[in-house]
């Protein structure tokens, strides 16, 4: 199925966005987030951006104080996922203008809308920033 979950976590390990594409109970989510965050945050910049965890891989990328983590199946193209993270960040950047952690917190639903346009059921749907942002900007105009 490709992408299993998308997580934003700050340096303190607090979740800032979580979207799962497979069902996990709240307890499982908490446990998983804790384990992964501990693993990823401990790594240095020189180490590669992939961590194997349980039966899947976590591809992560760090932007300032935020970690963007994407859990994927084992046969997924890790480099492409890195590119996807970057695309996501660029998209947010275009919308919010110099996006920061607070933007994401206060506009959580908008970030979710963007993600929804980009990924559906674990598959990448749209990679054009313009197409991704079109419905969101349309909504802002009308309201």
């Amino acid at each position: 199925m490709g992408i299993r979950f998308v997580l934003f976590v700050n340096k303190q390990g607090q979740t800032r966005l979580a979207q799962y594409y497979e069902h996990l109970s709240i307890d499982e989510r908490r446990a998983l987030e804790g384990e992964i965050v501990r693993k990823c945050l401990a790594r240095t910049d020189q180490q590669c951006s992939f961590v194997e965890h349980r039966n899947y891989k976590v591809v992560y990328r760090r932007y300032a104080s935020l970690f963007f983590l994407v859990g994927v199946d084992n046969d997924e193209n890790e480099l492409a996922i890195l590119e996807f993270i970057h695309l996501f960040v660029e998209t947010m950047d275009r919308h919010f203008g110099n996006v920061c952690e607070l933007d994401i917190m206060f506009h959580l639903e908008k970030v979710h809308f963007m993600l929804e346009e980009m990924v559906m059921n674990g598959c990448i749907v749209e990679t054009s920033k313009q197409n991704i942002l079109a419905p969101i900007q349309l909504m802002e105009k009308t309201s």
Binding site: R29, E52, E116
Partner: protein, 897 residues
């Protein structure tokens, strides 16, 4: 305030949560907010719905329960306006999942929205459906989705295509409906539609073979065209990433090509050119380009590519592997794992680089590289590779040592051509990472040492030296102590020196020192200490001069708080003090352990199910431990003792002339008698005894049921008393144990009248079931299984005071007119239940129900009272030489078991 913006109150909440210093404060804030949202929901406040939903999403993200908001989502979805629907669907996707009943209620709203005239609302519904639909919803709504794939709007098309992926995954039967529409979408120009359609095609190919064939016929041209267009296209700013046009589409197409080309030469040939073009023309400077190359190489490795193309791919791999970027190296290792199946030689060329990667600072890379090395090992390169890996053990960090030792041990076990080399490598591993070695690995090592009589000297000396240097490595200490105990005199006298060995001088007291150190070391666990005690006992007979000192060391442990050690010490002291005459023969060297049966045992341990055709398994350790009140936990040393006196005439004469046998001897003989009946019943107890020996005192839980042990006066009061009987039974027993072979059946009646009860004990029935009828709580019997050919009845017995345990007496009746041979019954139970199968009465079930096979089952329900018993059963047998198999589930156990 607009209905869409989430309002200031959301901000307030987030600020409040961020201001929390402790988790408790945060919980309090969240609790307060939740309470407000609940009351808003119950008062049905329209204006706050939207904001409350946004808050709930935030709370959900923090990991708090938000189920009370689920109905609110449904209400928002049912609302007319877009903003309400928008947040409602988002809430639906985040807060609900397909397993919840509430979801069924949303089907109708979804259907309406799918038919809505506004494309954005249709898009929302498709997105929600694609993320969370269940199988029923998929069936209900698939016609709508199919129709929407032909819509005019690009947005709707792409979402409908992705939604179909979910539908096909949930209900694979629907795949054929989507084959046509999916392949026609490949003719589109819009990248969003293309990427969705390609993914849908991939999913369809996985779901049905027909679809795969269909795609091979109809889509391959389209795919090649897409790939050519996208890689040749001029600059397209919207899809451009670092100068590459839409790498995501590239990758998805390449992935689908891999699926189509796998095992299909025609398809593969059709793709060759375009793959070569992608592989050569993509410049590998940027990450996006490398992602494409990576996918391209995987596809080339996956399909029936020409050799030229393969060479191209391997070259790209080589380039990746020498890249300095860790990400690239990681994926290169990943790809080599695939490549090794296609072209081992090409991968072997990179061996040195891969070995370097095993030592990388990055755990992810190390792990990949280690797995790859494991695949690379063959007979010719095993020695240098193992040396590299063993050398690396010196510096590897502790987390990694476990993986590394496991891999090294399995490499040396698998490829060892000579025992000396195997032993040498294993000793190194034990010395460097003894604390990370799994039990079965060092058990195997002990078996090998005991068989290699010419290398025992080398082993014990190497281990002695290693023990001096690496006293903290748990499994090294165990193996070393065992070897010193067994081969102490070889160590001291430098027997069997190999040419390359340096002679060492070890005095008798040095050897004792070493073992004493292991015994008293603070870090030693019970197993190590117990093994040390046995070794000391053995040394006391090997080196008579140290006997007095050993006696003292052993008696220091008489007050040990660990029962196991205390008991051993007491017993061993009494052997040293009071039984000088039989000691040397008791403590003789162990006979070579049977490698073949150990391997069988090791394999069967890894299998979770208890196979009924190995009756040896059913005779568990408990059986050996029950009969005597005195020595019950210390079975293993006793088994040791028995084992050691194999074929030992003096031992028997002392035993039989000793008219008033001491406690210890009684124990010895008592156990012997029981063993004879065990082996009589089950013909190959050897593997168990072997394990007994190896896992000396391994788990306290096995140390038996004291109550049962003491409730056996028959055993205690009827010692095997007359000399001729003793003389008759003992040698055979010893023979059985010693040779570890299947036995000549010993007629149990000769040894003592108590034998039937002993059999009970061995079967794990805690007390004299055959005699004490009234004690048993009766349960009605059930028909556990019935087919046209076979009927199985279960009768139940329970012991008073042990509600968890149930003894089941199973009766198998053949209902056909042909008798069954090789009848084997197997059963599996959930984790909370423990099951033990006794040997079946026969492996032949006579025809027409003329007699039947019976078998005992012991079940312990660890969740007695909470969960009922349940069992899956399987019967295999042969009818006229043909294999038959029947299976079923037993769920009609009477309540209260």
């Amino acid at each position: 305030m607009s209905p869409f913006s989430s309002g200031t109150r959301l901000r307030d909440m987030i600020r409040a949560i961020r201001a929390c210093k402790t988790a408790a404060e945060e919980r309090a804030v969240v609790r307060r907010e939740c309470a407000e949202i609940r009351s808003a929901i119950s008062e049905n406040e329209q204006e706050l719905r939207h904001r409350n939903m946004a808050k709930l999403m935030f709370i959900h993200m923090l990991g708090y329960p938000t189920h009370f908001g689920q109905m609110e989502c449904l209400k928002l979805i049912a609302a007319a306006g877009f903003p309400e629907k928008r947040i409602g669907y988002l809430g639906l996707m985040l807060l609900l999942d397909e397993r919840q009943e509430v979801l069924m209620l949303v089907t109708n709203s979804l259907k309406q929205d799918l038919n809505h005239s506004n494309q954005f609302i249709v898009g929302l519904a498709l997105c929600a459906l694609g993320n969370i639909c269940s199988a029923e919803m998929a069936r209900d709504l698939s016609p709508e989705v199919e129709r929407l794939m032909r819509s005019r709007e690009a947005n709707t098309k792409k979402k409908a295509a992705l939604c179909s992926i979910r539908i096909v995954r949930k209900v694979p039967d629907l795949a054929e409906n989507f084959m046509g529409p999916a392949s026609s979408l490949l003719k589109e120009k819009h990248h969003g539609i293309l990427i969705s359609a390609v993914q849908l095609c991939t999913e369809l190919c996985k779901a049905s073979k027909d679809a795969l064939e269909y795609m091979r016929k109809n889509c391959i041209e389209g795919l090649v065209r897409i790939l050519r267009d996208v890689s040749n296209s001029s600059y397209a700013p919207e899809y451009d990433i670092a100068g590459i046009s839409d790498p995501f589409l590239h990758i998805r197409v390449l992935k689908l090509m891999r699926v189509l080309g796998q095992g299909d030469a025609d398809c593969s040939e059709y793709m060759n050119d375009i793959l070569a073009q992608v592989a050569t023309r993509t410049e590998s400077k940027k990450n996006a380009a490398n992602a494409i190359l990576y996918e391209c190489v995987q596809t080339i490795m996956g399909i029936e590519a020409t050799s030229g193309l393969r060479v191209l791919a391997i070259n790209i791999l080589g380039r990746f592997l020498s890249n300095r970027d860790n990400n690239i190296r990681y994926v290169a290792l990943n790809m080599l794992m695939r490549a090794i199946i296609v072209d081992t030689q090409a991968v072997q060329r990179h061996r040195t680089t891969i070995l370097e990667c095993v030592k990388d600072a990055d755990a992810s890379i190390r792990k990949r590289a280690l797995e790859l090395v494991f695949l690379l090992v063959n007979d010719t390169n095993v020695k240098p590779l193992t040396k590299e890996l063993v050398d690396y053990l010196y510096v590897a960090d502790p987390d990694f040592k476990e993986d590394l030792t496991a891999k090294i041990s399995s490499i040396v076990e698998k490829f060892s051509q000579e025992k000396l080399w195997y032993l040498d490598q294993m000793f190194k591993v034990l010395s460097l990472a003894g604390n990370h070695v799994k039990d079965d690995v060092w058990h195997a090592l002990v078996v090998v040492i005991s068989n290699a009589s010419e290398l025992q000297g080398f082993s014990v000396r190497s281990l002695y030296k290693a023990l001096k240097a690496f006293v903290d490595q748990g499994s090294l200490v165990r193996v070393a102590v065992w070897c010193i105990g067994e081969y102490g005199e070889v160590l001291v006298n430098n027997v069997g020196m190999l040419q390359a060995e340096e002679p060492i001088t070890v005095t008798e007291s040095d050897a004792v020192d070493a073992v004493e150190l292991a015994l008293n070391r603070y870090s030693a666990d019970v197993t190590t200490r117990a093994m040390s005690l046995v070794a000391l006992l053995k040394l006391s007979s090997r080196f008579p001069s140290t006997s007095e000192r050993i006696k003292q060391i052993v008696s220091q442990n008489k007050q040990n708080i660990v029962l196991e050690l205390q008991q051993r010490s007491i017993e061993f002291s009494s052997i040293i003090q009071r039984h000088q005459s039989i000691r040397p023969s008791l403590l003789e060297r162990m006979p070579a352990l049977d490698e073949a049966s150990y391997l069988v045992k090791r394999a069967s341990i890894t299998q979770a199910t208890i196979a009924a055709d190995k009756p040896a398994l059913a005779v568990t350790l408990g059986g050996l431990k029950l009969p005597n009140g005195v020595a019950k936990p210390a079975t293993s040393p006793l088994a040791d003792l028995l084992d050691l006196s194999t074929d030992d005439a003096p031992a028997i004469t002392t035993a039989s002339t000793n008219t008033a046998p001491s406690d210890f001897l009684q124990d010895l003989l008592g156990i012997g008698g029981i063993n004879s009946s065990t082996t009589g019943a089950s013909s190959s107890a050897s593997t168990d005894i072997l394990i007994d020996l190896l896992s000396i005192g391994s788990s306290p839980s096995q140390n038996g049921l004291p109550a049962a042990a003491f409730s056996l006066p028959a055993q205690e009061t009827k010692p095997v008393s007359t000399v001729p009987q003793v003389g008759h039974v003992v040698p055979e027993v010893m023979d059985l144990l010693g040779s570890l072979s299947s036995s000549t059946p010993v007629s149990g009646t000769k040894s003592a009248p108590a034998i039937p009860q002993d059999m009970d004990i061995l079967d794990g029935v805690p007390s004299n079931t055959s005699v004490s009828g009234p004690d048993n709580i009766g349960h009605s019997s059930i028909t556990a299984f019935q087919s046209a050919t076979l009927k199985i009845n279960f009768d139940f017995k329970k012991q008073p005071g042990k509600p968890q345990e149930t003894t089941i007496h199973a009766t198998f009746t053949n209902l056909t007119s042909i008798s069954y041979t090789d009848f084997v019954f197997q059963a599996a139970v959930p984790k909370f239940i423990q099951l033990r199968l006794d040997p079946a009465s026969s492996s032949i079930a006579p025809a027409n129900g003329n007699g039947s096979v019976t078998q005992g089952l012991n079940v312990t329900n660890n969740q007695h009272g909470q969960k009922p018993l349940a069992m899956r059963i399987r019967m295999s047998y042969k009818v006229n030489g043909e294999d038959r198999l029947e299976q079923g589930q037993v769920s009609n156990f009477p309540p209260g078991l």
